[in-house]
């Protein structure tokens, strides 16, 4: 507890786009509840703070930490470890922290390939073939920048995590509900779910919340949104659009299908599912309507970029984790 008697709150942004930070601010007046109930001790986006301030805090002194972003380099890992030690409840916040997220697609390439693309492709003007150095000696002393890891990891592949709030980013109403629950729990009015639980989401998949009508599925062709205007009342998959809703945890109110766009899978795997992409693939493969190998081959060629489609958010925490180097 702080001097003012309020529990302490922290939020951190690791390898991520920043959408999660915006999503928290997007809970509108709810943010005032955060301020009224918590003493915000560390939140780089919202207030100034130094790592050494956090280092100085006693262990377990922060009540709630929302950690967004994947682990891409040793700085991310270092802060994760530090916040783990300082926090009572550490939450993996958003798809990147939970599953690796969009940065996790970097696991399809090696570190070397990524650096080559960034520093040595035609579009880069880098005649001296300079590469970032992690240490650089100056008269004043050595300077360090973070060392990039070979692969991207989810938060729980680096430190133990108490709860997961999925989504890219998590829906504001779900964040507000979670914050409300924690506040109630602190007052002894509610109980927190068992550690390790996914919170701010539901127990089924997006289809459960999707209002489109569904029939038995027989797919003879895949199409893409760029070339096709789907009907608004029928399941997108049945219209040949690869919608990940059926393999994605519910909780978003089926935002994307409601907007006539296929679910891209940001809420991660359904309860007890280990590999969302594999689930999606075997489901899709099961309903391809042909027994003729040549025709199946032809239908499957309609799936452009299967890894990017099925593992858009989940590569680092899938069974594959990363491409074999």
């Amino acid at each position: 507890m702080s001097k003012n008697g309020k529990p302490k709150f922290a939020m951190y942004w690791a390898a991520a786009c920043g959408g999660c930070e915006i999503a928290v601010l997007n809970i509108n007046e709810g943010i005032l509840d955060v301020d009224a109930n918590f003493d915000v001790v560390f939140w780089p986006v919202a207030m100034d703070a130094k790592y050494k301030d956090v280092e100085a805090m006693p262990d377990k002194s922060i009540t709630l930490t929302l950690f967004n972003g994947a682990i891409r380099n040793d700085e991310n890992a270092h802060i994760a470890q530090m916040l783990r030690a300082k926090s009572q409840v550490l939450v993996a916040f958003g798809a990147c922290a939970c599953e690796g997220g969009i940065p996790g697609l970097g696991n399809l390439s090696s570190k070397q390939q990524i650096l080559d693309t960034a520093f040595s492709t035609i579009s880069t003007d880098n005649p001296k073939e300079l590469r970032p150095q992690t240490t650089f000696k100056m008269p004043e002393g050595a300077l360090h920048i973070p060392t990039m890891y070979e692969t991207v990891k989810s938060l729980d592949q680096v430190v133990p995590v108490d709860y997961y709030i999925p989504g890219c980013p998590p829906e504001s109403n779900q964040i507000a509900a979670v914050v409300g629950l924690v506040i109630k729990a602190l007052k002894g009015e509610a109980q927190l779910p068992p550690a390790g639980a996914v919170i701010g989401a539901s127990q089924s998949t997006v289809c459960d919340e999707c209002k489109r009508t569904r029939g038995e599925k027989t797919i003879t062709q895949f199409t893409r949104m760029a070339t096709f205007q789907p009907r608004e009342d029928q399941c997108l998959l049945e219209q040949g659009i690869l919608c990940s809703g059926m393999a994605t945890r519910s909780g978003c109110d089926a935002r994307c299908p409601v907007a006539n766009m296929p679910c891209v899978g940001c809420y991660g795997p359904a309860p007890d599912v280990i590999d969302q992409g594999a689930r999606m693939m075997s489901a899709v493969a099961s309903v391809v309507d042909s027994k003729d190998p040549a025709e199946i081959e032809k239908i499957m060629r309609g799936v452009v970029d299967p890894t990017g489609t099925f593992y858009r958010f989940g590569m680092p925490r899938s069974l594959m984790r990363h491409a074999k180097g």
Binding site: D156, S204, C207, K217, G245, D272, I274
Partner: protein, 671 residues
């Protein structure tokens, strides 16, 4: 987890112990694997002593889980489950690890085999802690039976069952039952006439109050499971109204269209466009062969209709579908003959007087096209010399590797018939003489005594090109006599090819329809080649006769009777217990996406519209796992094959080697 696991490593005589260090593996398991309370090795785990060892340990040591590393679950899973049950442990808290089929039989290197055994046992041990006690399901058995194929095997099975009071649907695709046996003249070794022993059985089957005979019919679709199959049968349009037809045969007599009969007469005789395959056919009413009937081809004729005294002809008759409910199925679909044209050097199809065994049967048959006279293709000349070639298309890696089982005896029978009927000189060309049945060797000696010439050697060629005097106008058989060690050219008037029995072309399709598999060459696979020859891996589906593999009539009849006995046994039980290994849907997790809805091969899944979730009927589910892997929400669980169990097993078999090449536990990244 606190489980106490017993691990038992079987030597299987030297089957496993000859390659795997079973003593070392057991010791390793006890020292290294988590939760293992005791690990032992034993000569034969499946023996009563082996089983008692497990029972004793369960009771004395309070084991809560059992792992046996031995042969395959197919063979002995049930044995060890029962041992657990007797000891008071739920049988599903047992796990079988195959280190014979999957290790010692297929791995030569002893070190590798031993390490592989450890790895698989480690998987089993890690899996078994996640096992849950399961209780079997009980379902009633419908006493009706479906028999597919009306050859001697199917007839025998149908009669045995019908006599005991159960109803049989006997489905035959040809217009009459009888199968191949109906085409034969005499049968070895007793030489009684085939018709004399077969037709009474056909007649009984056709008139039995408990048999519904469905000829000119085929099974289209089978749903369900043991005790409760739903079968859809297509009755092809006969164009003859069975209830009106008296079988008088007038239509056949009046029909102006003659066709060569490639089926029953094996191409040696003719029939009409409206026909019964043979006079003693059961049932007696004919069918119209639409492809050859003048009316269907040109729109006029209708002679049969005009002359039919009872108005039984119905040109508009359509195929009819019927659905029947049965509890068990016997497949007795028999065989077809190897196409002798595939051995071009024997000249069949090119040289007129080269005939197949089935053609010879028709020639020799008193009811056949020549009234039983053995003559050349000209229809009059009796042959003076006849060569009979054994093993055509069998025992040959190019065609069928296996021995056809009957063609030696059948060739001996032919030799006798030729001698008896024509007095011609007979040569039998054989690779080996195989006469393993009761009194079969006696029959062989009798034929030797009759003066038939036996030449041991695989015939190289049958030719009509003469090279030496005496060969003009003859068929010359070129062969190496391997006993005398010399080349022979034997001029004859007629050559009989003993073509092999081989699986029906559609055997794989038919097997699939009934959920059973075929061996690589196409015979239906039995549950166990020695101990369970008429059952299959699918409960409630039995096989009998040559569809299971080449055999003679006595063996075929025995299998028909055996399959019937198995089915009657099940009917007597009234109920069967079903494996509780099946799928179920956790409805809170089901999103109603409907991916699973049309996947189940047993139609066990339904969609509940008002709650928008799917549901599985546990009695219909066979636990195949199709839907389990397809459900994108992970809402379907296959009991005994849960994610947790499978992942634990996979993690158990994985290990790392350290730099010295020794195994080391892998450091696992948190999932």
């Amino acid at each position: 987890m606190g489980e106490k696991i017993g691990v038992y490593v079987c030597h299987c005589g030297s089957n496993i112990a000859g390659v795997v260090d079973v003593v070392g593996v057991a010791k390793w398991a006890e020292e290294n694997l988590p939760n293992v309370r005791v690990a032992r090795d034993y000569k034969f785990m499946c023996s009563s002593l082996g089983q008692e060892m497990i029972e004793k340990d369960v009771k004395d040591l309070g084991l809560t889980r059992v792992v046996v590393a031995a042969c395959s679950p197919h063979l002995h899973e049930a044995t060890f489950r029962n041992a657990c049950k007797r000891a008071g442990l739920n049988p599903y808290l047992f796990e079988m690890v195959s280190i014979r089929e999957q290790v010692s039989w297929v791995t030569k290197d002893k070190t590798v085999a031993t390490e592989k055994s450890k790895m698989l046992i480690s998987g089993g041990v890690r899996r078994v802690v996640h096992h849950q006690p399961l209780e079997p399901l009980f379902v009633d058995i419908n006493p009706n039976v479906l028999v597919v194929g009306g050859g001697i095997a199917g007839i025998q099975a149908a009669l045995e069952i019908a006599d005991q009071g159960s109803h049989v649907y006997l489905v035959e695709r040809e217009p009459s039952i009888g199968g191949h046996m109906a085409q034969f003249d005499k049968t070895f070794p007793t030489l009684d006439c085939a018709a004399c022993i077969l037709t009474p059985k056909m007649f009984t089957a056709g008139n039995h109050p408990n048999i519904t005979l469905l000829t000119w019919s085929e099974v289209e679709k089978v749903d369900g499971f043991i005790g409760n199959f739903t079968v859809q049968i297509r009755q092809k349009a006969r164009k003859v109204i069975a209830d009106k037809c008296t079988g008088c045969g007038v239509c056949e007599e009046k029909c102006p269209k003659k066709v060569i009969d490639h089926m029953f007469e094996a191409g040696m005789g003719t029939r009409k466009a409206i026909y019964t395959p043979f006079p003693q056919a059961v049932p007696k009413y004919p069918v119209i062969d639409v492809e050859n009937c003048i009316y269907y081809q040109r729109g006029t004729c209708k002679a049969c209709e005009k002359f039919c005294p009872t108005g039984a002809i119905d040109f508009d008759q359509k195929d009819e579908m019927m659905t029947v409910q049965v509890g068990n199925v016997i497949l007795a679909t028999g065989y077809e003959l190897f196409d002798a044209r595939r051995v071009p050097q024997y000249g069949y199809g090119r040289l007129a007087n080269v005939v197949t065994n089935l053609e010879f049967e028709r020639l020799s048959n008193t009811a056949g096209p020549t009234s039983g006279k053995i003559v050349l293709r000209d229809g009059v000349t009796a042959p003076q010399t006849v060569g009979i070639i054994h093993c055509v298309g069998s025992r040959d890696i190019k065609y069928n590797v296996d021995c056809s089982a009957i063609c030696c005896m059948q060739s001996l029978k032919f030799a006798h018939l030729v001698k008896e009927k024509t007095g011609a000189k007979v040569y039998n060309f054989y690779i080996d003489i195989r006469t393993p049945g009761k009194t079969y060797d006696e029959f062989y000696r009798r034929i030797l005594d009759e003066g038939v010439h036996f030449i041991r050697g695989k015939v190289a060629e049958v030719t009509d090109a003469p090279r030496f005097p005496g060969e003009e106008g003859k068929l010359v058989i070129q062969v190496e006599d391997t006993l005398a060690g010399r080349q022979l050219r034997v001029p004859v008037d007629m050559v009989v090819l003993s073509a092999a029995m081989q699986p029906r072309v559609d055997s794989k399709e038919v097997g699939q329809k009934f959920g059973i598999s075929c061996s690589a060459n196409g015979w239906f696979i039995e549950r166990h080649p020695k101990l369970d020859p008429v059952a299959t891996m699918t409960e409630g589906i039995f096989i009998a006769g040559v569809c299971q593999g080449p055999k003679d009539i006595p063996a075929t009849v025995s299998q028909g009777a055996a399959a019937a006995a198995r089915v009657l046994g099940l009917i007597g039980q009234k109920q069967v217990t079903l494996e509780p290994v099946r799928a179920s849907i956790t409805q809170d997790n089901c999103s109603g996406c409907r991916i699973c809805n049309n996947l189940c091969p047993f139609n066990a899944i339904t969609f509940i519209e008002d709650r928008a979730v799917s549901d599985i009927n546990p009695a219909l589910c066979q636990g195949c796992g199709t839907c389990v892997s397809a459900c994108p929400a992970g809402a379907i669980t296959g009991s005994h094959f849960t994610n947790q169990q499978i992942m634990a097993q996979i993690e158990g078999v994985l290990f790392d080697l350290n730099v010295q090449g020794a195994r080391e536990e892998m450091e696992r990244v948190p999932a």
